[in-house]
């Protein structure tokens, strides 16, 4: 789903913000990188004030298809997201592996229909799917945790002239264990979201995102165990509703885009009479990402992320995890 927003919601919103930014900056001379600050008019090519008029080709109807491939190598501390007591073996009696390299490969594809324009809104429906294979480089974790996840989603994006973009959608995810070829986890996730992008400087954007939804899940007993959850009588005990707010600063620095971000999420488990009955989790996540566009369709990035969970459940307890990773992504639109 994260890739989805990069491909669709975020880039157009960024473009929108750049327009606002242009208006606020109000340079008094021709902007850099353009030819004379205007179109080339007259035989001598003298500049006018209308602006540069570069011809483009646009799609007038039908479907717009996009596809992508991402490869990510990451070092992660506490990949099982266990509490320190579980991790150190104080609770279970067995010290757990607390770190691993992970290599993730994702292929994705999707299609959107052409946007419907009204006076104040642009509405765009889209659908897509992705397939992610995760390989844990720590041999002791690879057998239980190596998996491949398949996600299909549909989404309706509504962009308002105020700059707020709204989205409503559903997704279905299925995670299968590589070793046993059995389903570890699946969920159906209807969700809502809103995002506002606005300029906070000549090269800097602020991005506020609010989202929430319901997770209808089914997890195998082994999956529950590896999530540090005891009591495996109900395989739907991970059902929850969540709410998240994130704020990201996106700063252009030479050829790089630097993006520090903070995300707060609240998760309330909804299944009664289970080990998670009445449980809530609060998660704080801090991340720093640097992107570099190697080509129009190829992006390199590195990221660091730190997460901390405070839980009302004694068994789940508090936990922290962090990771450092490098990513290469290839995305194309047809």
């Amino acid at each position: 789903m994260k890739k989805l927003f990069i491909l669709t919601t975020f880039l157009p919103a960024l473009a929108l913000a750049q327009v606002d930014q242009t208006a606020i900056d109000r340079p008094t001379g021709p902007p850099e990188g353009t030819i004379g600050g205007g179109s080339q008019t007259g035989a001598g090519g003298k500049a006018s004030d209308a602006g540069a008029q570069r011809p483009i080709s646009v799609q007038l109807g039908g479907l717009s298809v996009f596809a992508g491939y991402d490869s990510k190598i990451v070092y992660r501390y506490n990949p099982q997201q266990m509490s320190p007591d579980l991790l150190d073996g104080i609770t279970s009696g067995n010290k757990q592996e607390d770190k691993s390299g992970i290599w993730q490969n994702t292929i994705s594809a999707g299609a959107s229909s052409m946007p419907s324009d009204t006076d104040t809104l642009v509405i765009t429906p889209l659908a897509g799917l992705s397939w992610t294979a995760s390989d844990y480089l720590n041999d002791k974790l690879s057998k239980p945790l190596n998996d491949y996840a398949t996600t299909v989603y549909s989404l309706l994006m509504i962009q308002h002239e105020s700059g707020w973009g709204f989205r409503v959608g559903t997704s279905y995810t299925n995670v299968r264990n590589n070793n046993t070829d059995s389903e570890d986890y699946r969920e159906f996730y209807p969700n809502l979201g809103a995002m506002k992008t606005y300029p906070i400087g000549p090269d800097t954007l602020g991005i506020l995102d609010v989202s929430g939804g319901f997770h209808f899940t089914k997890a195998s007993s082994s999956d529950l165990l590896y999530r540090g959850i005891h009591g495996t009588g109900n395989y739907e005990q991970l059902n929850n509703r969540d709410f998240a707010v994130s704020y990201t600063i996106r700063h252009n620095f030479h050829d790089f885009v630097i993006s520090p971000s903070y995300r707060f999420s609240y998760k309330k488990f909804t299944e009664d009479d289970t080990a998670n009955s009445g449980r809530w989790d609060i998660m704080h996540n801090l991340s720093l990402k640097a992107d570099y566009a190697l080509h129009e369709n190829i992006n390199l990035s590195s990221s660091y992320s730190y997460s901390r969970r405070n839980s009302s459940d004694e068994n789940a307890d508090d936990m922290k995890t962090y990771d450092l990773g490098f990513n290469i992504g290839i995305n194309v639109r047809f």
Partner: protein
């Protein structure tokens, strides 16, 4: 006090002579550099006034700008007119304009229509919309829609021009010429009709929405810039060569 009295008397005399519609109703909301208004005096000699922010003017006058000069006028509070540098505009009435030379931007905030002609070409435009007009050597002008779906009528018929499309209002025939989809974001970033003023146009949010919509439809960009229309059949294309040198070609 005497100045206020003088203004009152002048306004009263103008009201009696020209009627309510021509009393100073159009406010200069921005003026910098040599932004002038020329009217014909009693002896048929032009009377030229330098315009500045806060002035009120009537129509039936020529608006001119020199180098690095820009002007903005709120017309009947429903139209916003911006004039680029080195431009001459015949402001005949709130609904009739003639672009003699240069560039203008219009924000039309309701369904009203206006007539915009040039040395040779002419079209009637119905909003709501935002558009830029740029005079060309063939006597016509380029019409560039920035927001809305303006209806452009000529003697040859009418067309709806979506945001992000440039169409040539031809000088030699009373018709619309070829239409081109252009990179709206690049135009906005480089247009001094957008960026050389203190405030963004009032329709900026709708222009931003048009950019968003165009980004979703975008398939590719050509390595060229559209230039002048020297005749109805020739439009200059400035091809951006590999060495970074611009090369002029004609289409």
């Amino acid at each position: 006090m005497s100045k206020l009295l003088l203004v009152f008397i002048v306004s009263l005399v103008r009201f009696i002579c020209y009627g309510y519609s021509e009393v100073l109703r159009h406010e200069v909301t921005y003026g910098v550099g040599g932004f002038d208004r020329a009217i014909t005096g009693k002896s048929n000699l032009p009377i030229i006034n330098r315009l500045k922010t806060g002035d009120f003017i009537s129509s039936q006058s020529y608006l001119t700008t020199g180098a690095n000069a820009y002007g903005e006028i709120s017309i009947n509070e429903s139209l916003l007119l911006r004039i680029g540098s080195n431009s001459i505009l015949d402001f005949n009435s709130p609904a009739i304009y003639k672009l003699v030379n240069g560039t203008i931007l219009f924000c039309v905030q309701n369904r009203s229509s206006l007539s915009l002609s040039s040395t040779n070409g002419s079209a009637e435009i119905t909003g709501p919309c935002t558009f830029i007009a740029e005079s060309t050597s063939n006597g016509g002008y380029k019409f560039i829609s920035l927001s809305g779906k303006p209806v452009v009528r000529t003697g040859d018929g009418e067309s709806v021009i979506p945001a992000g499309r440039l169409v040539l209002v031809l000088g030699e025939t009373d018709a619309l010429g070829n239409a081109y989809d252009i990179d709206l974001l690049l135009l906005l970033k480089s247009s001094l009709l957008i960026n050389a003023f203190e405030e963004p146009p009032p329709t900026m949010k709708k222009i931003g929405l048009a950019v968003y919509s165009q980004q979703l439809r975008l398939k590719g960009k050509y390595n060229a810039l559209i230039g002048d229309a020297t005749t109805d059949k020739n439009l200059q294309m400035w091809v951006l060569g590999e060495s970074g040198q611009n090369e002029a070609s004609k289409k």
